[in-house]
């Protein structure tokens, strides 16, 4: 038997990635290991709830992400309570549009991935590292995306090295694009983007940033049937997270309620049609 090279064992050492660990030891737990089998007639997209509009924008000292609360299945509303924006770790948040079930699994895996790295290495992952890990996860979902079950995330975080908020968008192939100022994904994103272009300004303070996000989601809900607006009856407001040098923070419901009520009364007073 040839003598074993001790250096060989170095690249066989377990990595600090949770996903790699699952791939090696428990592949059945990975969301991407699911297979639909040969494509059936008709798209799988109509069978699964879809989550829609997410907006994200930078402001002075940080970055913000907001999502509406509606999930749809074809022309039906599947859920009025769904949350699409989640903290990924202390300094980053993640929003998802696309197939809700797969996206929620991806978020859960991504959260564990970041925490796992932090515990194993004893130091948090860099923001670029995090956004690249997410790209790999989106890419691993490509076979399902081609069958109609796409997941399109939006990722925002505070870069503790550069001391600034940054945001990243993705396509279904795992392409990762850094966005500046603001971005939106999902079926209502075209309308939200229009609103963002008019409302966003450099160096918004946090309060104004939240107002801009809620207003752009309102515009998306106004014109896109798959995006839910503020629900006065059930007291449902968008989910909004801000990330700055202190970490991430969810904007409390009572502030969002006040903002939404002001917005609606302002538009009611204006009485404009479109």
């Amino acid at each position: 038997m040839a003598p074993r090279d001790p250096a060989d064992s170095i690249h066989q050492a377990p990595s600090s990635s949770f996903t790699d660990h699952l791939t090696r030891h428990r592949p059945e737990l990975l969301p991407s290991s699911r297979s639909l089998g040969p494509a059936s007639n008709g798209s799988a997209a109509e069978l699964a709830p879809q989550a829609t509009t997410i907006v994200s924008l930078t402001y002075a000292g940080g970055v913000l992400m907001a999502g509406d609360r509606r999930a749809t299945m074809g022309n039906m509303i599947a859920s009025r309570h769904i949350k699409k924006v989640f903290p990924a770790d202390h300094f980053s948040v993640l929003g998802i549009a696309g197939t809700a079930g797969l996206a929620l699994d991806m978020i859960r895996l991504f959260q564990v991935e970041l925490e796992h790295y932090e515990k194993i290495e004893g130091t948090p992952m860099s923001l670029d590292g995090k956004s690249n890990r997410l790209a790999a996860m989106v890419r691993s979902n490509l076979p399902l995306a081609l069958q109609g079950l796409a997941v399109v995330p939006l990722f925002a975080g505070f870069d503790t090295q550069r001391r600034t908020g940054r945001l990243f968008s993705y396509d279904v192939t795992g392409g990762r694009y850094e966005e500046y100022e603001h971005h939106s994904v999902g079926s209502g994103s075209v309308f939200a983007r229009g609103a963002l272009k008019k409302l966003w300004q450099p160096n918004l303070d946090e309060e104004d940033a939240v107002r801009v996000a809620v207003e752009s989601l309102y515009d998306a809900a106004d014109d896109d049937s798959a995006t839910g607006g503020p629900d006065m009856v059930r007291r449902l407001w968008p989910v909004v997270y801000v990330v700055n040098s202190a970490g991430n923070r969810e904007i409390p419901e009572r502030e969002l309620q006040q903002l939404s009520r002001d917005l609606i009364s302002r538009r009611t007073a204006a009485g404009l049609e479109a």
Binding site: H21, L29, H90, K119
Partner: protein, 246 residues
């Protein structure tokens, strides 16, 4: 043909245990103790980056003495075990007891079947809602496991530290005084070394210590479910020097 000498199983196990014990006795001590605010983990460790204390999961911490490469691989395996369990079941289903019994099994099988036993001692601590639901397990190189209450000491001169702690441990202490108690107990080994001239113990400075805590209620105090928090040198310095002001 060479004749194999007969070695009785008793002798074989005794030799291995002696070997492991010697390895552990060379290391500096670690103290894990419960208090009102949670669980404090205090280690004598001059390295700022090679840790003896670690976070395993939301409410579970880890402390170790012995050979670094051996307890480091056990630490990483523990994190993987906990993360896989929490990911495939639920975060609530990860417990210190489950982790400790996995550690006990792997240490036990290494001790009996491998060429050399692990020269490590581990503590797995889980902070509960109140001091009575805190869990503290100590694991030996041979896989034996002890369910400790109040505090546990591992490493080189555990007996001296243990004795010092038994006199000063107090359940109602906050983190600051629990850490000071632990540091005082760890410093007792220093006076033992220089006991010839009867001088008082020189207390360990912040630069020679590694300290971490498991907060009892991290969700309301820090807005996270992760209870583990490392105390950095500056904070520790302030914490230790305030004791002298008392």
């Amino acid at each position: 043909m060479t004749q194999q000498f007969y070695v009785s199983p008793e002798q074989l196990m005794k030799d291995r245990a002696d070997f492991a014990r010697k390895g552990i006795a060379r290391g500096r001590s670690v103290v894990v103790l419960t208090c009102r605010d949670g669980i404090a983990l205090v280690a004598e460790n001059p390295s700022p980056s090679l840790h003896k204390l670690s976070e395993i999961y939301d409410r579970i911490g880890f402390a170790a003495v012995g050979k670094y490469n051996e307890f480091e691989s056990l630490r990483q395996a523990g994190i993987r075990f906990a993360d896989v369990r929490g990911y495939s079941y639920s975060r609530d289903d990860v417990s210190a007891r489950g982790l400790a019994s996995v550690y006990a099994q792997s240490l036990g099988s290494v001790f009996t079947t491998e060429g050399k036993p692990f020269e490590v001692e581990l503590a797995v601590a889980e902070v509960g809602e109140d001091p009575y639901s805190d869990r503290l397990y100590r694991l030996n190189f041979d896989g034996s496991i002890a369910d400790e209450s109040n505090y546990t000491v591992m490493g080189g001169q555990a007996e001296i530290v243990n004795e010092a702690l038994s006199r000063s441990w107090n359940q109602d202490a906050d983190f600051a005084s629990a850490v000071r108690t632990a540091v005082k107990a760890l410093s007792a080994t220093r006076s033992a070394e220089g006991s010839g001239n009867g001088q008082a113990a020189e207390p360990l400075g912040a630069g020679l210590l590694e300290v971490a805590v498991l907060d009892r209620d991290p969700l309301s105090t820090r807005g996270t479910v992760r209870a583990f928090r490392r105390i950095n040198t500056v904070e520790l310095d302030r914490l230790l020097s305030s004791a002298e002001g008392d």
